[in-house]
Symmetry: C2
């Protein structure tokens, strides 16, 4: 079988990129194991990507490739599991959160410290609430880490630079290890919103903040790529104590290596076609097409939910989700109780059964007691989304009438 690397129909830059990756593989094949931290040439390209993004040096030896960001987050959170004197280590996570965090905290027998995001301020991060959560938890655990998801899942919030600075100062004062889940860094839509990486802000703040322990995560499953089944991701971990880092690398080596194909996909993400290269135009066209369509859909989803009586939805500044609040009638809450369901779960099942539309109830992500939300994605194509939103609006109006 002739090699695709010799196919004249394929653009030269794509073939050259593929050759480069293969040269970095043992035996010149993706079929061989790579180093547990990933293929060196790809780790180097990740570091260069981060340097271009932030304007600060990134060391390739701080880059660990992983089978999706989830694996990177789990592997790094494992560093927190040491129970000192029987006291559980505590990990601060936003509420609402992406359930990977609560599941991993439970699995590793850590203590979950939830801090509520401020729905009234577009789900931004309230420092007073961060302090409240920390102080409340101090007596039952040893807080060790602070996780931030930016852009937010499921909230769609994009943190301002000022907000990030406050978070970094908060973490520094309390010696917290920072987890920056930045997998949606390409997904920023709202005017005036901009992605600021934690690494960049921390470096710009200078001493003593630029000496803090920080792990930042990226994925090929989000952005404009969406190659989630291929499992590619990276973690950049900075300022780790060398002895801890050695143990960390040892702990991931039991997994042998992340999928080499997932690694190769990350290569494509961090080293995309450059201006002047044969693939550049078609790549940019597709990338911008996807992102601008997502931006349209983000606005469409929030606007529609806001036009429905009894629903309110923050602006979807980024990521891929809306997390609207719904006001549920007392009678619906009672009906849910009778079914032994949370009211938002009851609502979600009614919606599914009546319309075929699937949403995730807010209780799966966490929400302030007595409030009800759901998560929906902005991913369906605009025409499908329009039909879906109309059906949804009709269902909601009927639901309200039924339980008035």
């Amino acid at each position: 079988m002739p090699s695709l690397l010799d196919d004249p129909n394929l653009p030269e830059d794509a073939k050259s990129r593929a050759r480069h990756v293969l040269e970095g593989c043992k035996g010149g094949s993706l079929g061989s194991y790579s180093d547990s931290a990933g293929i060196e040439i790809i780790r180097r390209h990740v570091a260069e990507y981060i340097e271009r993004r932030d304007g600060f040096p990134s060391c390739w030896e701080n880059i660990v490739l992983c089978a999706g960001a989830s694996e990177g987050i789990r592997g790094t959170m494992k560093l927190m599991i040491n129970h000192e004197n029987g006291v559980k280590p505590g990990v601060m996570i936003p509420i609402p959160q992406y359930p990977l965090y609560s599941a991993t905290i439970a699995e590793f027998d850590l203590h979950q410290i939830g801090y509520y995001l401020d729905e009234s301020k577009n789900w931004s991060l309230d420092l007073a609430e961060l302090k409240r959560a920390y102080d409340d938890a101090k007596s039952v655990c040893t807080p060790k880490a602070l996780c931030v998801i930016n852009p937010g899942n499921p909230t769609g919030n994009v943190l301002t630079r000022e907000n990030i600075e406050g978070i970094i100062k908060f973490a520094h004062e309390r010696n917290l290890f920072l987890f920056a889940d930045e997998v949606y860094q390409d997904n920023v839509y709202a005017e005036g919103s901009k992605f600021h990486s934690f690494k960049k802000v921390l470096m710009e703040m200078g001493e003593p903040y630029n000496k803090m322990e920080l792990a930042s995560f990226m994925s090929c499953s989000k952005g404009y790529m969406g190659e989630c089944g291929l499992r590619g991701g990276y973690a950049e971990i900075i300022n780790l104590d060398p002895a801890v880092k050695a143990m960390y690398l040892k702990s991931i080596s039991a997994k042998l290596c992340p999928t080499t194909l997932g690694q190769a996909v990350m290569e494509c993400v961090v080293n995309p076609p450059k201006e002047g290269e044969p693939s550049y135009e078609s790549f940019m066209k597709e990338k911008q097409g996807v992102l601008s369509s997502l931006a349209t859909r983000a606005k469409m989803v929030a606007d529609t939910f806001n036009s429905v009586p009894g629903m309110s939805c923050n602006i979807v500044q980024g990521a891929m989700y809306a997390f609207p609040q719904i006001t549920l009638p007392e009678k619906a809450i009672e009906a849910a109780k009778k079914e032994g369901q949370a009211a938002d779960v009851f609502y979600a099942f009614q919606l599914l059964e009546n319309t075929g539309i699937c949403i995730v109830p807010g209780s799966g992500f966490g929400q302030r007691p007595g409030t009800y939300h759901f998560r929906t994605t902005i991913l369906p194509q605009p025409d499908k989304l329009k039909v879906m939103l109309e059906k949804f609006r009709e269902f909601h109006s009927n639901f309200l009438k039924l339980y008035e």
Copy 2:
């Protein structure tokens, strides 16, 4: 870009297999997430493969695809972590063992119960020693699981059917969960040796044994395939309590899904070209070529080591390794002590520095105190292997002279 599925140069059966897998993927693309337990059509084909192999039914819902067997083993061993009344659960593993087991046991805070394999009987499993290890450990842990690697890594042993029956009875009497690491099931070389799956033997034994909990693991990284970087594997888990199974499936869902490409590679392993199909001949030729060459190399390696004074090596019946014993002179052991190294580690470093040959010292796998071994693979091509073995023999002779 034209699809490879339309390429007239590719055999029809390969394209049809690819189409089938893609039809089983969401959106017809490997880029999408699959179910956490894997793509249904591939799980069904795995079950059919096991049925053909064993002659007993296999239920596709008992099949979990995973990113290499290692991930499957780790995920299943997690079921053992419940500490009752502060007593650690114990997991029985062979000594020598593949270090994935000791690492996972340490990571999950389980108690390792090592049972020595019988070097004098070609590294087979001695039931009296199994009992000795179990009885010794009972007072410090609650033994919950028994792991067997067959064909053996690093030993190269292939268990006889009789031996497996004894192991199953042993496990049944003590209500142990059986882990059958069968990733080398295609790698059996020695005359008279045959692979018997634990599932098959357990089913043939009938009641009450066929109701035992058993997890069996397979991989695309070994056999004649060797596609280790692509991370494909499966676990077949039978007779699991339904509530435990539900929790197990929930626990793997936090990882989203194993790499879809690794899953597709497993499809190729369990559903290879059939007689009469266009790819059949070239497939069989390559498969048989690889396996018969490995058989030649297995014999060559053992014979060579046995011809070296001070070395003895069991027959490599299967898998991909030899684990010869070396007699080290007292003076070498003392020299190692001075360097702060185990004697076999010292030997391995001397070998590496003097010849460039890399072996893994036996202490990495475990061995009876006072004995020294190393693991080497049979993987290099015969001509390279020959050169390597000659260099090795020369080094060993010089080493003995130096420390006589």
